[in-house]
Each structure stands twice: as structure tokens, then as C-alpha cells.
Symmetry: C2
Subunit: 81 residues, 2 copies
């Protein structure tokens, strides 16, 4: 059983209001380490056995069609043991 992780983030040129809200809240809690914060989605997909190249290609297609909005978001796909 392996885990395929799809990370979906807004494209850099797109304003991220959630990230801005977090970045503004951090100093109020006494945390001053952040120059910027961006928030996105993380999907953990469980598959049987080690993922095959065909499965990974399918995950890419599913990420494009369902898990992200390619107009405003980028995604990455990786396998986590």
C-alpha cells in the first residue's frame, strides 16, 4: 500500500487571501518568522501496492480535471512511502 500525494497551490501571480490572513495573524500571536504565507490543498491518495507509471499518469489527469483548477492553480504529484 503506497500513498500518492498531490499538492495544489495557487499560481504565484494569483492573490492568496487565506495566506495573507495567516501572514497577518502570525505577528499578533507573537510569531515574526514569516515573510509570506501561501495556503493550498494536500490530497493523500491510497493505492494498492506500488503505483505503476500508468497509475501516476492517471493521477496527473485526475489532478488536472478534479483536484485543481489549472487556470489559477499548479499541482505536483509525488509518491510517499
Amino acid at each position: 500500500m503506497a500513498k500518492i500525494v498531490v499538492d495544489v497551490m495557487l499560481k504565484p501571480e494569483i492573490l492568496d487571501p487565506q495566506g495573507k490572513a495567516v501572514a497577518a495573524a502570525l505577528p499578533r500571536l507573537g510569531f515574526n518568522f514569516a515573510k509570506d504565507v501561501r495556503q493550498g490543498k494536500r490530497f493523500e491518495i491510497e493505492v494498492d501496492g506500488d503505483p505503476t507509471p500508468a497509475q501516476l499518469a492517471d493521477v496527473e489527469k485526475a489532478a488536472e480535471k478534479l483536484l485543481s483548477n489549472p487556470v489559477i492553480e499548479n499541482f505536483t504529484v509525488r509518491v510517499e512511502k
Copy 2:
């Protein structure tokens, strides 16, 4: 400039309706690779230079206080180049 990534996922024992919705939608789009899908949040925090241990400790505290709900969520902190 380095990027600290905080991944926040629901604890395994907590029902994940969003993940269930994605898992149910995938076969309707012709994708049958997924045994289970869980959805969470990904935060990318930009800091100046390489993060110091003190900064990483602060990120852990911020993740506990602001970025996650420790009652129902787990989080991980890592540095991405």
C-alpha cells in the same frame, strides 16, 4: 530564502467528508486507482535565509496554535529548498 512547509491532515480516526467526496467522484470520471482519498491543508511559509532551529520551533508552535486544530488534526513541518 527558504520555504517551510506545514502539512495539516485530519487524524486517521476522523471522518473526512471532502476526501470521501473526491474518492466517490474519481470513478465517475473513469479513474479507478484510489483505495481511499484524504484531503488536508498545505501551508508554504517563506522565511529569510536558512531557517534556524528557533524559527522551526516557532513554526511548530504556530502550527499548533493557528494552522491546525490539534484535537482533530495532525501536522508536519519540513523545510523545502
